[in-house]
């Protein structure tokens, strides 16, 4: 049986088991129909040219299959230093025993399955609404199959005091796990979300989707951590829609991977809204880290920043594709993009491509891409003070990366990443 046939029969089975379900069933079915048309993309597909995901997903993987295992409280990194509501997911399913919730007025968190299952209006309004915009292969697959995920809702006018920390643990080399977040911050509310991914198995495969709704005048700050994701083959899609005077920040930190694709699509739908998309990736071994970003300016007077930095060592590959779309109506757009990568070895490589499509005439748009090595003069300056060449390079690499880490506003998280990076670079200051 081909992979496609296998996916079809798995969907039929899943549908049968879930029969009689409400509005979700329709959303699933529509998504699956879209997916059937799209399939799993090969490298002839423009968006997947440098990331041949198809060859990296064994055809034996089960999409609907789900396994779980026993994890103790200290069997994973629970980020004890960070005070937050913590939701822990095992292969995409909420584990309440491992989760800790700090109650806050106006803030609802929990299992996606539970919340959508009980609330048709909510489901119709939000679920799958953003991923539909770009009809992406993996988002469609995810919508068709997803079983559970994180649900986060902040009511109008509420500033959440503590971050919501979503910890996703995976351990299954047999399944292509579909996991998901739905994050809704209503008008004039404010929230920080941290999403972490940890691989606990010999290898793991997953397809993770986040849909983020940022209401008028709201502020949502999402940090994605891929720091314990060795042996991980994953596709991440984050979709955000940003309202008037609202602000959306997304920081993606990828320090370990077998193959990780991060697609981040932001739609600036309300005037005077802003998006800040920062990223840091560090590839070693034969890892491939791919960041595809799209900022879609749909209305006037919005601003966006993309600031990505990559470090590629050994035989690692990086892919950066940064799109800025400025629609005809979006006058007075201010869009900025910067992508910098340093290659620490001759075998490392990066494919970097800015892509600007501007249909309005009164816009400020700038982009810069730089690929290079560490500065010889800087290395020499450090060596001239007695620092060994390898340490000098590590210090400069650390300095290069810390610009992104320093944009993180949760102090304990910044410290965690700072230490993580120093450890990776064998630095001890």
């Amino acid at each position: 049986m081909s992979f496609a046939d296998k996916i079809n029969s798995e969907f039929e089975l899943a549908e049968k088991n879930a029969s009689g379900e409400h509005v979700l069933a329709h959303i699933r079915k529509d998504a699956f129909t879209s997916f059937q048309k799209l399939g799993i993309p090969g490298n002839r597909h423009e968006e997947w040219r440098y990331t041949n995901i198809k060859t990296q997903l064994p055809e034996t993987l089960s999409i609907a299959g789900h396994t779980t295992w026993n994890v103790s409280k200290d069997g994973f990194n629970g980020f004890a230093d960070i005070k937050a509501t913590k939701l822990v997911f095992l292969n995409g399913v909420l584990n309440t025993g491992l989760s800790t919730i700090i109650e806050e007025t106006g803030v609802t968190v929990g299992s996606l399955k539970e919340h959508l299952g009980h609330n048709t209006a909510l489901t119709e309004k939000y679920f799958g609404k953003l991923v539909n915009k770009y009809e992406d292969h993996f988002s469609m697959l995810n919508t068709a199959f997803v079983n559970d995920g994180a649900f986060v809702h902040v009511k109008k006018g509420i500033t959440a005091t503590h971050p919501i920390f979503i910890i996703n643990l995976y351990n299954s080399p047999e399944n292509f796990t579909q996991s998901r977040n739905l994050i809704i911050v209503e008008e004039s509310s404010k929230l920080d979300v941290i999403v972490d991914f940890q691989n606990q198995g010999s290898s793991s495969y997953y397809n993770h989707v986040s849909e983020c709704f940022v209401g008028n005048n709201a502020d949502l700050n999402v940090t994605k951590l891929q720091t314990s994701t060795q042996h991980t083959t994953a596709v991440h899609t984050l979709e955000a829609e940003v309202g008037r005077y609202a602000k959306f920040t997304c920081t993606t930190i990828s320090l370990e991977a077998k193959l990780i694709r991060n697609t981040t699509n932001v739609r600036l739908c309300g005037e005077n809204s802003e998006a800040h998309l920062n990223g840091l990736y560090y590839g070693t071994g034969t890892s491939l880290i791919d960041n595809h970003i799209l900022v879609d300016h749909l209305v006037p007077n919005c601003q966006s920043n993309q600031l990505y930095k990559g470090i590629l060592d050994e035989e690692a590959t990086g892919v950066f594709n940064g799109k800025i779309f400025v629609k005809q109506d979006a006058q007075k757009t201010n869009a900025f993009q910067s992508s910098k990568a340093i290659l620490l070895s001759d075998e490392a490589s990066i494919n970097s491509k800015p892509q600007l499509e501007i249909f309005a005439d009164d816009v400020k748009c700038s982009h810069g891409a730089a690929i290079g090595q560490l500065s010889q003069d800087e290395v020499f300056y450090l060596r001239a003070r007695g620092i060994h060449e390898s340490d000098a390079k590590s210090i400069l690499t650390y300095a290069f990366a810390s610009q992104i880490i320093n944009t993180i506003t949760t102090d304990a998280l910044k410290v965690y990443l700072d230490n993580n990076l120093k450890e990776r670079l064998h630095l001890n200051f």
Partner: protein, 252 residues
């Protein structure tokens, strides 16, 4: 301390140092003066081990060891310090972290454990006072956005921290205002000791009023063409370099 014999150095295929000779004894202060482009910084960079400078022939013995055989960082750990004419700006590396890495590299070289945090801060404080550097400077990125004078002070601060045996100062005085010159010169003087030698490259006699040299050399066309006592600096200040050039031409 330092013995340079018949040193020939080229950069980009162009020979700059030509049969250069210099002998500096332990505890001595030597000054090198000379017109722009004669190779003073080339000499300094060659001693520090900058790759672009190609040693064609000659030898450099530092404390009994072949300096040219050592990597730039090894030279530094062994006690060579170059205060750069144009210190590089390094965004993202704080002065404190940089110094910690440098001090501990040197300690490791001599089989010592890393310095503990308290001692390190104490040492930093002491040496900052020496060149009157403000504490805020230590948490800033190395040389980034520093004024010309601040960069030079920072070089001397680093020198004080690392306690080298051979201090090479490449135009440390240029770009300093009158007060800063006095502060930096006083800082350097406090580091003078019978165990430490100095090679001071400068264009101005002014600095040598503070740091009184044992020997003054005039460099021209890639080599030393005249040496004398501290009065030679005064004479150059008064008369310029033309008479030296004439002397060299007459000899040739």
């Amino acid at each position: 301390m330092l013995s340079i014999k018949n040193l020939n150095v080229a950069i980009n295929g162009q020979q700059i140092l030509k049969d250069f000779n210099l002998e500096i004894k332990t505890g001595e202060v030597h000054a090198i003066m000379g017109p722009n482009g004669t190779g003073k910084s080339t000499l300094a960079s060659t001693l520090a081990g900058k790759e672009a400078y190609e040693v064609l022939s000659g030898e450099v013995i530092f404390k009994g060891k072949d300096l040219l055989e050592m990597s730039p960082d090894e030279r530094a750990r062994e006690g060579v310090f170059l205060a750069f004419q144009y210190p590089v700006e390094i965004p993202g590396v704080t002065v404190t972290n940089f110094m910690k890495a440098a001090i501990n590299a040197k300690r490791r070289h001599f089989g010592l454990d890393p310095m503990d945090a308290k001692d390190f801060l104490k040492l930093m404080r002491q040496k900052m006072e020496l060149v009157e550097i403000k504490k805020e400077m230590m948490s800033r990125s190395l040389n980034e956005g520093f004024s010309g004078g601040e960069k030079k002070r920072n070089e001397i601060f680093q020198m004080a921290m690392l306690e080298p045996s051979l201090c090479i100062l490449d135009e440390t005085d240029s770009g300093l205002d009158i007060d800063a010159l006095r502060i930096v010169a006083n800082g350097i003087n406090k580091l003078r000791s019978p165990e430490r030698s100095f090679l001071v490259i400068t264009h101005y006699q002014r600095l040598l009023n503070y740091i009184v040299p044992d020997v003054v050399h005039v460099m021209f066309g890639g080599k030393i063409v005249k040496s004398g006592g501290k009065e030679l600096a005064l004479e150059l200040e008064e008369k310029g370099y033309d008479w030296i050039k004439d002397e060299v031409a007459a000899e040739a």
